[in-house]
């Protein structure tokens, strides 16, 4: 905990704070992916991970001499996350229409 306290002592606008936030988001996202059995729940976890990466990029860009490429990368992450979500939700809908369920455990059309 000592490290965290030291990081917080640097004031609100320090790189470490943003990294900490992104790290927490990433961990939460991974936790959601692993623990959720519902397809939409897993996709929400993926969104968290992508946003964690986005925060990292923007923070690094800002504290690395106000570079632009990190900011641009974050924009692309947002756009691609939207595209991916659109395709994913369409497929989830198709699965719901054929299986009447989107729980991954209940999708057992194909097994060993």
């Amino acid at each position: 905990m000592n490290t965290v306290a030291r990081l917080l002592a640097q004031g609100p606008d320090a790189l470490a704070n943003y990294l900490l936030l992104a790290g927490v988001l990433f961990a939460l996202g991974i936790f959601a992916m692993v623990s959720r059995r519902n397809a939409v729940g897993i996709l929400m976890g993926v969104e968290l991970v992508l946003n964690a990466a986005g925060i990292n990029f923007v923070a690094f860009a800002r504290f690395n001499g106000h570079q632009l490429d990190g900011q641009v990368f974050a924009l692309f992450i947002i756009v691609l996350a939207a595209a991916e979500a659109a395709v994913a939700l369409a497929l989830v809908l198709a699965v719901f229409q054929t299986h009447r369920s989107i729980e991954l455990d209940e999708l057992d059309e194909m097994r060993l």
């Binding site: 964690a52 690094f60 490429d69 692309f76 691609l80 699965v95 054929t98 999708l107 194909m110």
Partner: protein, 540 residues
């Protein structure tokens, strides 16, 4: 307009001439998209021809480009010239080394360093376009795809190919991410293409969920790479990263660097379905339309290997060592290769569905190729992988094409329904047996040379264990390949299938073409192998 901006614009427009194949594919996609909309529903199959014309055009453009590379390489290697020995030496001659600039072979960054223009990218471009062209021809006659949306399938195939082409040339983290996503997101739609089919919908959803997880983790790793190096350019990232690794004093900070790199590699290994990132692939391959399965097992995998080799070459300069111990990476790849081979082959043994069996077999083949990457002493290990990919393209697409043809007649890929299927389609039956022999790695087929080249590289490293394990795996795979061959060619049919409609002529032509290609790649493997070598060499 500011001066700098105009310069940049002009430069980018000039660079368009260097990516003519990609431009052609984009135009093909757009033309086919509009064409598909104005066509009456029952004639949408012809959209495939539009896509095909542009894909073949792009293929031709990249073959022409490859010709210039080969030409340049030839001159560069013919360095010995005979010249008069001196001003008054008379007829006496001597041989001198003439240094030639590899002007053309040099890898050039284009579009502000987003992609590289080099023979390596062009090689993969050719592989991807060839795979796409074959897939387009096959999907035009695949019954399961028929319907009012048939035209869309060609568009998806074409667009996926475009993503792969950019991926194999990408040299910037942003570009790698963008093209990887372009490749993946469209593949998700292809896997779930038969929306009303329970298996296909399930396959699509599983693909998108696992794929999104993998790309999320990869992008998070990339964000740290950007943070610690302050740039997105792959070469600069790798240089600075290597420099940092030397400075890091504590074990913990070095471990953090390795973890960051591992995240990025996880995303790439996911794409080639290497164990332990292969969980998605059997289900996706079984559920997706058979044409799409054949496509997935070749084109995205080739693109994945393209970017994997490029990233490895940047971070661990092949041969040079560059202060980094590439032996550790060799060990990692060797372990992954063993795991992938064994999981693929052992799981394939018990399958009762031909499609799922070939899905596991394609996992095993990714394992053989990874074994080639476990020799990073010089560029011949990766070159062997490139050769293997070319062979794999023909034999795997061939096997899947025969499956599509048989599914057209029998309506299923279950082994019990395919019994004696060769009686209806004798030519394709024979071709399937040949493809399966090649997949096993038996001479006189190119699959043998593919495995042989990889084993030779391993043997040069005295890595006898890997050589033995590859041999062992070939023996295991012989069992299930021959089981499929026996089912199709020897077993008596269970139910009498009525008079089957004739096999589309294009399938027969493709089968013959691919068998001939496999034989030619066996007999004349040397020029192709040399080409692979020349292509990999400029990657530092």
């Amino acid at each position: 307009m500011p001066e700098g901006f105009r310069d940049l614009l002009g430069q980018n427009i000039r660079h368009l001439w260097l990516i003519v194949p990609e431009v052609l594919v984009v135009f093909g996609f757009l033309v086919a998209l509009v064409y598909d909309l104005i066509l009456p529903e029952e004639r949408r199959r012809t959209t495939g021809y539009i896509c095909l014309i542009f894909i073949v055009g792009a293929l031709w453009a990249s073959v022409v480009e490859m010709g210039t590379y080969v030409n340049d390489a030839k001159h560069a290697y013919m360095e010995q010239r005979v010249v008069p020995a001196g001003p008054d030496a008379g007829a006496e001659t001597r041989t001198v080394q003439v240094q030639r600039e590899h002007e053309v072979l040099q890898s050039k960054p284009i579009f502000s360093g987003m992609v590289r223009h080099d023979a390596y990218g062009n090689f993969f471009r050719m592989v991807l376009l060839l795979g796409t062209a074959i897939t387009l021809l096959v999907s035009m006659h695949a019954k399961e795809l028929f319907g009012k949306n048939h035209g869309e399938f060609f568009l998806l195939v074409t667009a996926t190919c475009l993503g792969g082409m950019f991926l194999s040339a990408a040299s910037n983290l942003l570009m790698i991410y963008l093209s990887l996503e372009a490749l993946s997101v469209i593949s998700y739609a292809m896997a779930g293409y038969l929306r009303a089919n329970r298996k296909s919908a399930e396959a699509g959803m599983k693909y998108v969920i696992y794929g999104a997880m993998a790309s999320g983790i990869m992008i998070f790793g990339m964000s740290y790479l950007y943070g610690i190096t302050g740039t997105l350019d792959l070469a600069e990232v790798a240089d600075k990263f290597r420099g940092l690794e030397g400075e890091m004093a504590t074990k913990a900070s070095r471990g953090a660097l390795v973890a960051v790199l591992a995240m990025v590699f996880a995303g790439l290994l996911y794409k080639i379905a290497a164990a332990p990132f292969h969980y998605w692939s059997p289900d996706v391959y079984e559920g997706a339309p058979t044409t799409a399965t054949g496509f997935f097992s070749v084109v995205p995998k080739a693109a994945g290997f393209a970017v994997l080799v490029r990233v490895v070459a940047e971070f661990f300069p092949i041969g040079a060592g560059g202060g980094w111990d590439y032996h550790k990476l060799e060990k990692v790849f060797a372990a992954l290769a063993l795991l992938t081979m064994f999981i693929g082959n052992l799981a394939a043994l018990g399958q009762s569905n031909a499609k799922r069996m070939l899905a596991y077999s394609s996992i095993a083949h990714a394992g053989y190729m990874l074994a080639g990457l476990s020799v990073l002493r010089d560029s011949s290990g990766p070159a062997a992988v490139l050769y293997y990919l070319v062979v794999y393209l023909f034999m795997n697409l061939g096997a899947f094409m025969v499956l599509v043809a048989m599914e057209n007649v029998h309506g299923s890929c279950e082994l019990k329904d395919l019994r004696g299927a060769a009686r209806q389609q004798p030519l394709l039956g024979v071709a399937l047996v040949i493809f399966l022999f090649s997949l096993t790695g038996l001479p006189p087929l190119a699959g043998f040379i593919g495995k042989y080249l990889i084993m030779v590289e391993l043997a040069k490293e005295q890595n006898w264990a890997m050589v033995v394990f590859i041999g062992l795996n070939s023996v295991i795979s012989l069992y299930y390949y021959m089981r499929l061959a026996k089912t199709v060619a020897i077993d008596a049919p269970t139910a009498e299938v009525g008079v089957a409609e004739p096999t589309p002529a294009i399938y027969r032509a493709l089968a013959v073409g691919q068998v001939v290609a496999l034989l030619l790649l066996f007999v004349y493997f040397e020029p192709i192998q040399r080409l692979c070598q020349q292509v990999v060499e400029p990657l530092r």
